[in-house]
Amino acid sequence: MTARPDLQENDVVRIPRGVRLREDKARGGWVLLAPERVFQLDPIAQQVLTRVDGERDVADIVDDLAAAFDAPRERILTDVRAMLLDLMSKNVLEVA
């Protein structure tokens, strides 16, 4: 067994080179473009990923989302971390 990637609140995440976040005007919504892959983002994923700028850490992003959506921070942290870890396991997100 290899160690699964973990993610701390003070980790800074970024979208690696070769992966691009953009609006998909033809179909509506936003997409993450990766090698041979297109991820259609739901509105929540879009809200999270548009805050991933390679400078803010996870805590920052979670604080921002908790304020923007007036939701409990703990729940947002759990959801965001799960989502970011999933994207990391797909190699479309990395710890800076």
């Binding site: 690696p16 070769g18 953009r22 892959r37 190699n91």
Partner: protein, 381 residues
Amino acid sequence: MSEALTEDMNDTAGSVVKPIPQPPIGMLAELTHRCPLQCPYCSNPVELTRKREELDTDSWRRVFRQAADMGVLQVHLSGGEPAARPDLEALIESCVESGLYSNLITAGVNISRARLDALADAGLDHVQLSVQGATAEVNDRIANLPDAFDKKLAFAREVTDVGLPLTLNSVIHRHNLHQIPDLVELAVELGARRLEIAHAQYYGWALENRAALMPPREQVMEALELVEAARERLKGKLVIDAVVPDYYARLPKPCMNGWGRQSLNVTPSGRVLPCHAAETIPGLEFWNVRDHGLDEIWRDNPAFNAYRGTDWMPDACQSCDRRELDWGGCRCQALALTGDATQMDPVCELSPYHDEVQTLAIQDASRDDDFIYRRFARQPA
């Protein structure tokens, strides 16, 4: 490639009445058929297009603009060897200008460091490098090019050195199937982020060479388990995508995720196809970007509508729960193995030809034919 392209997409195209098809997501731009390699499973047609028939730079620029306008997100710059085109940098720039994600699919034997820098500067997003085996001996014999393996390794290191993301792609058959663990190791060692283990699909050159390529069933099953184990072990480090060997399968592959549904091919001379092998199907006329807009072709070319959706399907497919999962499998394979492109893919266990296909594979796997290498002007009998 198409299998991986869209596995994360769950749109609802193809249901009920849809007079205007959903736009394609991906476009394969076959810039040229010229290539220094001669792989016997090449996905190009047996009858290759000559340099003098290739689209010029401005025509490709127009095609990329039209593609982006209609909703294409990713362009795969392929061939032949796309670097045989001296205007590759300009074509990448054109993709960037249109907002298209550009993926270079290359053999990696004729791109100098200076040229790679220029391609990266032009805005290239990703490099997919083919390897024909995990050792020089196997690689160079299959590619029929001495020193190809060493050049590929050097190129791969330069790609990661430049900072471009790298995918390693290897077409698998009985001469390199035993090297799958070595290919995984090689991908990790070279710093690739992704590895494609693509079992040969038997169209065009690969169909000509089927008896020289088909692996035995037990080895295929063993290989599938190896790939699964490696994928789990390397999660987060290396993405492994597998294209399965369908002759031994029970269910057909969702070829291209449906005919004319998510992607299109443009050939070196500008003909627009739903897939690599579509031109093998008699009676279909494929329109050219010299005469028609890409959007018009996608929407109105009768060849694109011939097998789009589910209306064309035989009854057994129409009444099957999987009709919008595998889209009846592959039309070109139905043609190649049954003589009729409207049949269900004979790989399906419900096909009356299913047993015959399995027998064919087992027979071919026990033969010892020589390769017919992919070449211009050589027409295999």
